[in-house]
Structure formats: C-alpha cells, structure tokens
C-alpha cells in the first residue's frame, strides 16, 4: 500500500487554528481558511485529511455540520478525532463524511469506545493518537491523565497497553516539535516503537519537504501528518510529494481532474 501525506486541521467546531507546542492560535472559519490558505487547493495535494477537534467538549452538531461542508470539496479519505464521547457521536461522524476516527484521551479513559468502533467499523477505521515528549537522553514519554491523576509513561509501555484495542494505526505526535518546523524527532520515535507491530503515522515538527521525505523513507512510517499550514503554503505539499518520489517512496500519483477533460468522450 502507498505511503501517505496527511494534512492536519485543528478545529473547534467553527474556527480553525495553528498550534505550536500545543498552544493554539485562532485563524478563522472555513471561508477564511479558503481565502487565506486556499485550503481546498492544499487538499488536492494530499492523501488524506485529519481533522482534530481541539475543544474538550464537542459541539457535536457544529462539528458535524462543518465536516459535511468541508468534505463537499475534498476527495480523499477524512479522519476525525477529539472529544467523541459515545457511539452515537462516532456514528454521527461517519454519517457526516468521516472515514476514520482518531482517539487520543479515550485510549486511557474509555477504551471500550475504541473497541466498539473497531468492531463495528473495522480496525482500518480506528486510529490511536499518542502525544509524546522527548527528553535530552532521547527517551520518549507520554503525559496522560488517568483517574484524575497526571502520570508519565514510556511510549513503549503505552503502545503495549493499547495493542489489544483494535487500532489499525497509531499517530505518534511530538509535543516538543509541534508547530516548530524543526522536523519530526524520528530517532526518539523509532526507539519507542521498535518493539511494536502496529503501523505508525508521524506527526509534529514538519517544516520542509525534506522533513517529510526523510520520515516517509523509513520503513516503519506509514504516513506523516502536517498541520503546519504556513510551512506548506502554495505548492509546498506538491513539492513534498515530488521529493518523496525522488527518494523512491511509494506514494500515490495524483492527477488534476481538469487534465482529463480532453480524454473523456461522450457516448
């Protein structure tokens, strides 16, 4: 299967955001995003869109409506995550155009919701998100809240705990590099996931086309997510695809719909 470049969007139900080290900067609504970032053009260069809902409690109706609006002009799979509380909301996301659901805090707080999603929609539609921190020694750890207590755990340990939840893929998201454009900490992440069998998606820190292709070249990386809209404005993501191809990464080749006009004949 081909490797993927995924465009991440941070969304609160009405507005989109940029993030740096998980600190958020408000941008605007979908129209604003199209006017200023040509979001639908960016979407035509990627293999998937991942929409992260960044409010702890979801305005479920707003989110569903915005998702329906966004997916009107996006023709790749869409992953959605953040704040989903129960199967009714999970089902609502699928009905609104989601192809996959991403779970982060639910990995610890309600694993049964993840199991149910995987059983009903399949592992390929069920994705875990682990936000990790790196220290100077190269150790990757996860800050998680469980039963009201904050605790730190090794990513490796966390991966072994989520192994039986029916996840198809896990996103490893670097908190330190988030929004910095300094590149994804591949060395630390690889060390953490070397004993796990589950496919990985790298997220956090991508600031150049080289950052993306360096990650995709690694055999354990299935996909990368970048939500750094500023770094890849214009044709940045298209160039990232070209660079990945030049590095012999198996990645889908996209053709513009307009290029087919001459080739289609009426009956």
């Amino acid at each position: 299967v081909k490797k993927r470049i995924i465009l991440g969007l941070l969304f609160d139900g009405t507005h989109f955001y940029l993030s740096r080290n998980f600190r958020l900067q408000k941008l605007g609504d979908l129209n604003w995003l199209q006017e200023n970032f040509q979001i639908f053009d960016l979407a035509s260069y990627v293999d998937e869109i991942a929409i992260f809902h960044i409010r702890r409690r979801l305005s479920f109706e707003d989110f569903g409506a915005a998702l329906r609006e966004l997916t009107r002009r996006i023709f790749v799979p869409v992953s959605v995550g953040g704040g989903l509380q129960d199967m009714r909301e999970v089902e609502g996301m699928f009905r609104s155009g989601a192809d996959r659901i991403m779970f982060s805090n639910s990995l610890w707080s309600q694993p049964e919701l993840i199991l149910q999603t995987s059983e009903r929609y399949g592992a390929q539609a069920t994705v875990g998100v682990i936000n990790f921190l790196s220290d100077d020694s190269g150790r990757a750890s996860v800050r998680r809240v469980r039963d009201g207590n904050v605790e730190m755990a090794d990513v490796e340990d966390v991966l072994s705990r989520v192994d039986d939840l029916g996840l198809g893929e896990v996103v490893l998201q670097s908190v330190d590099r988030d929004g910095t454009g300094q590149g994804f900490p591949l060395r630390e992440a690889k060390k953490a996931w070397q004993s796990a069998n589950i496919p990985f998606i790298a997220a956090g820190g991508f600031g150049s086309t080289t950052h993306i292709s360096e990650c995709l070249v690694d055999e354990r990386v299935e996909a990368v997510i970048t939500a750094n809209l500023l770094a890849f404005l214009g044709n940045g993501l298209s160039l990232a695809r070209e660079e990945a191809v030049a590095q012999n990464v198996e990645i889908a080749r996209w053709e513009e719909f307009a290029s087919f006009s001459a080739g289609t004949r009426s009956a």
Binding site: V1, K2, R4, S44, D47, R68, T71, R72, R73, F75, V76, P77, F94, R95, S96, G97, D99, G122, A123, Q124, G168, A252, R253, W254, E255, E256, F257, A258, S259, F260, G263, T264, R265, S266, A267
Partner: protein, 207 residues
Amino acid sequence: VTALGVVDYGVGNLKSVVNALEYIGIDWTLVDAPSQIFQFDRILLPGVGSFGAAMGRLEETGLRESLVSAFEGGAQIMGICLGMQLLTDGSEESPLAEGLAIIRGATTRLPESAKTTNTGFRTVTAMADTSSLVADKLSRDYYFNHGYHVEPSDSDVSIGTARYGGQEICAAIEFKNACGVQFHPEKSQGQGLAVLRHFALTGGLRL
C-alpha cells in the same frame, strides 16, 4: 448529460459520492423506490458495509428486482466497492444472501496471507487487451477499503487489477451494460472524479 440515478437503499454513506458528482457538475437524483429506477438510463450503485445487509435492504425495498430489470432493459449500471460486489452471484461474507447476479462470479475473502482489509492507495493496472479510463495510462492510483473481492467467472470481464497480498485482485469489471470498481473513485482525487464523470457521460468505464 443524462441524469444519473444514485441508488439509496439505506446503508452506507452516499454523501461522499454525491458530493463528488456535485463537484464535477453531474446531474444526479437519489433513487429509493423501485419504480424510480426506470426513469434513469444510468444508475450508480454505491455501497459501504456488509453484503448481506445491503442485499437485505435491496430485497425489502423492491430495488433488487428493479435493478435487474433495468439492466436487462439496457440501463447502464455502475457499482462502487460493495456496489460492485452486489453485481455478482453472492459473497462469502454472507453465504445465505444471493447477489444481483448481473455479472457472473463470486465475491470472496481477500487472500488469507494478507491483512484483513485492503485499505489505502494502490495502483490499478489495465488488463492487456482492454482500454479503459481506469488504465488509459496503463496504471493509476486509487483508494481501496474492502475485505472481500470479486472473482468473475469469465476473466475477460475484469478490465483492471490491483496487486494485494501477493496476488492480482480484480479492481474493475465491465460486462455488457454493467460495470464496477472495487476502489472508491470519490476518494481518489482527480483520477477518481474522472472515472465518475466518464461513467456519467458514457455509461461505462472503457474509452
């Protein structure tokens, strides 16, 4: 352009398919009643979910009989993903459910050696003796998401294949006035939209 009927039998998500049709300027209408089927020369049969549930809904609604009659009357039908599988005689997924039997063949589990589902982008390659939109450039990439695949009785029906689990699996079929794609054109960027438009304009997949 002849208006396209999109079969709505209450399972799966039609939204992404009709969004794509809307975007490429194809006039479409949702069809959920048997008599409506005959108002259209071209009919799209999408599908997500299980074979048995889908055939059950087509039976309950009376759409099964109408679809077969429409095909026999010359209407052009295209199945997408599960919709393509429904065109066959039946599926290992739901052994008790009969398919539409418009295209002879069986729907079987993907190779055991592989993972349980084929999800992601794969290259579809034309069969040597066919020329079709899905492969006019020899090969193009499309998005797949399925656990079962079609094995047509007559291999000439298969007009495009994809490699999965060490085997070639059927990715596109065409027989008389029926055709189908195992991949999701509505999730496959420009080339996927082109497949949908080609069917809407010509009633088939071949150039």
